[in-house]
Structures are given as structure tokens and as C-alpha cells.
């Protein structure tokens, strides 16, 4: 498909385990964003990439969270030693360019990964 895809769609893990969440952006989109959404509320910014670089990591909650992007395409969000408070829906979005009001900057979201930490 032509949209943003995320995998897995659901992940249940035990406290203390590591998890990896994957995002496949729309082909040709240089910007990629990760967000966290708890209980159907607003989105919390985590990190964004322009190409393979992450100019703003300010939203990562702790050093247990990390993300990388390779080849200017696929991105992986890794959470180490998961805690129950990490349970949420993790959303990925991509856009042609980062930021701003132009149509080039419109974010297209994936369906999210629902993470449950027991």
C-alpha cells in the first residue's frame, strides 16, 4: 500500500523486556515522527527524523527509549526494560519535509502499535 505502515499492530510484553516497534513511511518522505498516545488522548511528541538524522529527541521520556532510521526510510523505536507506564499506542507519521504549514509538510499517520506492558 501507499500509506504509512507500522508493525506489530499489537504487542504484549512483560515488564523488564525490550521491545522494537517498526515504522515504514511513505516512499519519498524525508521526515518521520514518532508519537505516543495514552487512552485516546492527545499525542505526545517523542522524536523526529529528517533523513537519517534526529534533530529533536527532546520528547523521549527516558534513556530507555531510543530510535533510529536507516536508508532514509524505515525507522525503529526501541524501548528497553519496559515499564507498565510505557503502555500506550505508539504512532508514526511521515511527511515530504519536516515542519511548517506547507502541503509538503502534511503528516500522514500510520495506524499505530498498541503496546501493553504486563
Amino acid at each position: 500500500g501507499a500509506g504509512v505502515s507500522q508493525s506489530p499492530s499489537n504487542k504484549v510484553t512483560e515488564k523488564g523486556k525490550d521491545v522494537e516497534l517498526r515504522c515504514d513511511p511513505i516512499s519519498g518522505h524525508t521526515a518521520l515522527y514518532w508519537y505516543r498516545q495514552s487512552l485516546g488522548q492527545g499525542l505526545e511528541f517523542l522524536i523526529y527524523f529528517q533523513g537519517n538524522s534526529a534533530p529533536d529527541k527532546s520528547g523521549l521520556p527516558s534513556d530507555r527509549f531510543s530510535a533510529e532510521r536507516t536508508g532514509g526510510s524505515v525507522s525503529t523505536l526501541t524501548i528497553q526494560r519496559t515499564q507498565q507506564e510505557d503502555s500506550a499506542v505508539y504512532l508514526c507519521a511521515s511527511s515530504f519535509l519536516a515542519g511548517g504549514p506547507s502541503s509538503y509538510n502534511e503528516q500522514f499517520f500510520g495506524p499505530g502499535t498498541r503496546l501493553t506492558v504486563l
Partner: protein, 111 residues
């Protein structure tokens, strides 16, 4: 720190009624967006407003950006059950590329 506060948080109305959702901040934004999100899906962009005082209309939806670019509103005329969903505002501050999302308004329109 939540920079964008939305009100109301929840809204349940009958089909055909009008409603307004507010998005307020003490910060100035260079642009502001409104999204709608349905269960199990990511948010979908409805509109982007850029200029203070700007009004945009999308069928039965009217969006307004405050003169000082600190607040915005979404007005829906003659709501329909298909309007049901979570409405989110999101802003970008000048010089940044980070979207700040509002707290969300969950709308339910009853047939």
C-alpha cells in the same frame, strides 16, 4: 507541560445540532492544524491555518485561527453521526519542527 488545551474534553450531541471545540494556548504558533482520529487509526489532517484571524471552511466545518495565533476553534454545523471521533489540534512554534498536540475532544453524535 501541556501547551495546547482543548475544551470540552467530551461532547455528546444529537444529530443536527451545532457545536464548537476550542484549542487554547498561552504560546504563539506559526501554524495550527486540526485532525480527526477514529478508533484504531492514526489522525487524519482536516485543515491547516497560518494567518492570525484566518477562517477556513470545509463543508460543514469552520476553522478559525485567533488574531494573536494563540488559539483556534472548530465549529461544526448540523452535526452528523459520521462526525463522531477524536478531534485534535496541533501547533508548530516558529523556528521548530515539532508538532505540539492538544489534549483532544471526543465527539459523539447520536442519530
Amino acid at each position: 507541560t501541556q501547551l495546547l488545551e482543548q475544551s470540552p474534553q467530551f461532547l455528546s450531541i444529537q444529530e443536527g445540532e451545532n457545536l464548537t471545540v476550542y484549542c487554547n494556548s498561552s504560546s504563539v504558533f506559526s501554524s495550527l492544524q486540526w485532525y480527526r482520529q477514529e478508533p484504531g487509526e492514526g489522525p487524519v489532517l482536516l485543515v491547516t491555518v497560518v494567518t492570525g484571524g484566518e477562517v477556513k471552511k470545509l463543508k460543514r466545518l469552520t476553522f478559525q485561527f485567533g488574531d494573536a495565533r494563540k488559539d483556534s476553534s472548530l465549529h461544526i454545523t448540523a452535526a452528523q453521526p459520521g462526525d463522531t471521533g477524536l478531534y485534535l489540534c496541533a501547533g508548530i512554534r516558529s523556528g521548530t519542527y515539532k508538532y505540539i498536540f492538544g489534549t483532544g475532544t471526543r465527539l459523539k453524535v447520536l442519530a
